[in-house]
């Protein structure tokens, strides 16, 4: 196995009772990388996160974190990890400093060294003026910053974040990413995060796309986009199936219907737009082309629209709550 990998996952499956959440997932994350798991809720990324954070035990397959085997050596792995959960793990009744002290004590950081680390992190995340405020009074973005500071307090080698930008406004989200890039650069920490926002995943070094418990694609965002031949063309039409068949036949290409729209991928999308509109007058309601995005990659790999999957998953989870 690669010595320089921070996380190496081999053939890992996981089930909650009869429901299979992860299906034979393998990947490795080299040290110092920012890696994003992207996919709709229910795709398996949160389960993977729980496994990596040692919250749930491994069922099958193997996971190495740095030089430790997750199945045997949970104890030495824990101090290596800094974790930011999706649900805030701050104690709202405690102040910023008290939350950090508490965390330090849990990780065996005490005394002058703890005080020093806290001052350092408060300065770094620009939280100095808020140090004695209770975290319940802080905004979502500030709280996320405290979480981040907390997760770094014991100088972990790997930072794991579950949907870190949920409930953050675009400003705070962009700030979060600046911090992540800074953390990687200054501390050489390996960062693995999950997100259901494809545009966010674009900022990672490499992206793993998860769907229905499987890792369906894994590469740099650019390489993933390059797997889509050229530009992505989307056509809205009254009769998408008929139009897709007609386009496929006439231009000898693969036009397909995805969730009611005709889609095809071609080089030089702008020329194709003109040709298609001329070739099928009246049959096309609207037509767009765009440089392929990770969404197009998702569509190509799964045959589903990413947005629908997310909405469906949200609806499912609401149903489950009731």
């Amino acid at each position: 196995m690669n010595v320089a990998s921070a996380i190496a996952v081999e053939d890992v499956s996981f089930s909650y009772g009869p429901r299979r959440a992860l299906d034979s997932v393998s990947f490795s994350i080299p040290r110092g990388e920012i890696f994003a798991f992207v996919g709709p809720n229910g795709g398996g990324k949160t389960t993977l996160f729980r496994l990596l954070t040692t919250l749930v035990p491994l069922q099958s397959g193997s996971v190495r974190i740095e030089s430790f085997d997750l199945a045997r050596d949970v104890r030495p792995i824990r101090p290596l990890l800094g974790v930011v959960f999706q649900a805030p793990s701050l104690d709202k009744k405690l102040t910023v400093v008290e939350n950090l002290q508490h965390h330090g004590h849990l990780y065996g950081v005490t005394g002058p060294r703890l005080a020093e680390r806290i001052d350092e992190l408060l300065a770094r995340f620009n939280l100095g003026e808020r140090r004695d405020e209770r975290t319940e009074k802080l905004s979502g973005g500030l709280r996320r910053r405290v979480e981040l500071a907390k997760s770094l307090l014991h100088q972990p080698r790997i930072l794991l974040l579950d949907e870190p930008s949920t409930a953050l406004d675009p400003m705070a989200r962009s700030e979060l990413w600046q911090h992540l890039e800074q953390i990687r650069q200054d501390d050489g920490v390996t960062i693995a995060l999950t997100t259901h926002l494809l545009e966010e995943a674009e900022r990672a070094d490499r992206v793993g796309i998860m769907h229905e418990g499987r890792l369906v694609a894994l590469d740099t965002p650019d390489a993933l986009r390059d797997t889509i031949g050229g530009d992505a063309i989307t056509i809205r039409a009254a009769e998408p199936a008929g139009l897709a068949a007609a386009i496929s036949e006439r231009f000898a290409c693969d036009a397909h219907v995805v969730d009611g729209d005709v889609r095809l991928e071609r080089e030089d999308g702008h020329r194709w737009v003109a040709q298609l509109v001329e070739a099928f007058p009246g049959a096309i309601d609207s037509i767009t082309f765009a440089r392929p995005s990770l969404e197009d990659v998702f569509v190509a790999r799964t045959g589903h629209l990413f947005r629908d999957e997310v909405e469906e998953a949200v609806a499912d989870s609401k149903e489950a709550v009731r």
């Binding site: 010595v3 320089a4 909650y16 040290r31 110092g32 949160t46 729980r50 954070t53 040692t54 919250l55 749930v56 035990p57 740095e66 030089s67 430790f68 104890r75 030495p76 824990r78 101090p79 290596l80 990890l81 974790v83 959960f85 999706q86 649900a87 805030p88 793990s89 701050l90 104690d91 709202k92 009744k93 405690l94 008290e98 002290q101 508490h102 965390h103 004590h105 849990l106 990780y107 065996g108 950081v109 005490t110 002058p112 060294r113 020093e116 001052d119 350092e120 209770r134 014991h154 100088q155 972990p156 080698r157 579950d162 200054d186 501390d187 050489g188 920490v189 390996t190």
Partner: protein
């Protein structure tokens, strides 16, 4: 080591074979911080503080006035009332465990490099300390107004110690119940089906009676806490199990409950998997 921030050295984490971050095997800072957190949280929730101060005062007012007009001797019921205060507050303290789980706070403790027994001990000692605080307040009120309570300092010392052991046992009992619960709703059922009968059948409220009730009363660990406190607190009270039996049973109750709490805490629960 306190050094200037500039001289702080970060090991290069990109090196080929990084040593593991040092694991501090001393679990006591974790125990202390979890215990302290329970207390700080309590003090910062004003309604809880009022409730905690108010309950002993109200009980004391109601009981002392209520018993004045009856043929019963309030001093006889005083130890049982102490145990009731311990029971309720210890159990309610562990309800915060369910809240911690729901709010996501507990997740971060579960993945910390802290042995589960230390985590459990920290949470329990915080809850037990809160229960003790209320029971001690009630005890002081009793001393201020009741005649016939023991004045021997050695006996009072034993009373406080026995109360501490009992509160740890009861907090642990609450912990075991609360650990697997996802919401506080179920707790009320347990409260009225298990905990309240447990108190009623501890000799606090009525004498053991006869037949099957004697068996239940003598199998109930709370019986021994109540009987022990009664023997220590109430002058001339000698019936019931011997004081050493009371001590042994209460200590055993605490040890068993603590062991069960530690065992429970090693098991994952569905509540942690709510995202």
């Amino acid at each position: 080591m306190s050094s200037t921030p500039s001289s702080k050295t970060l090991e290069s984490p990109i090196s080929d074979n990084p040593p593991a971050a040092p694991i501090d095997e001393n679990p006591w800072p974790a125990v202390g911080t979890l215990c302290r957190r329970e207390l700080v949280r309590f003090l910062r929730q004003r309604n809880r503080v009022f409730g905690a101060l108010g309950q002993p005062i109200i009980f004391w007012l109601l009981f002392s006035e209520g018993f004045r007009g009856s043929q019963f001797d309030y001093v006889h019921f005083f130890p049982g009332t102490l145990v009731m205060i311990l029971l309720f507050t210890a159990i309610f303290a562990t309800i915060s465990l369910i809240e911690d789980r729901r709010e996501g706070f507990l997740q971060s403790v579960l993945i910390a490099p802290v042995p589960r027994w230390a985590m459990t001990l920290g949470i329990l000692s915080g809850g037990a300390a809160l229960a003790m605080f209320q029971a001690l307040l009630f005890l002081v009120l009793g001393y201020l107004t009741l005649d016939g309570l023991a004045v021997d300092p050695l006996a009072i010392g034993q009373v406080v110690l026995l109360m501490a052991v009992a509160s740890l046992a009861l907090t642990a009992l609450g912990f075991v119940i609360a650990w697997r619960m996802e919401s506080t709703h179920g707790f009320h059922a347990i409260m009225s089906l298990v905990l309240l009968p447990m108190w009623l059948l501890s000799g606090s409220f009525f004498p053991p009676g006869e037949g099957w009730m004697v068996w239940i009363v003598s199998a109930n660990p709370l019986t021994y806490s109540v009987a022990g406190l009664r023997q220590l607190l109430v002058d001339g009270q000698v019936d019931g199990p011997s004081l050493s039996t009371c001590w042994a049973a209460t200590v055993a109750f605490a040890l068993v409950m603590f062991a069960l709490a530690c065992l429970s805490s090693r098991r994952g629960t569905k509540g942690d998997l709510l995202s």
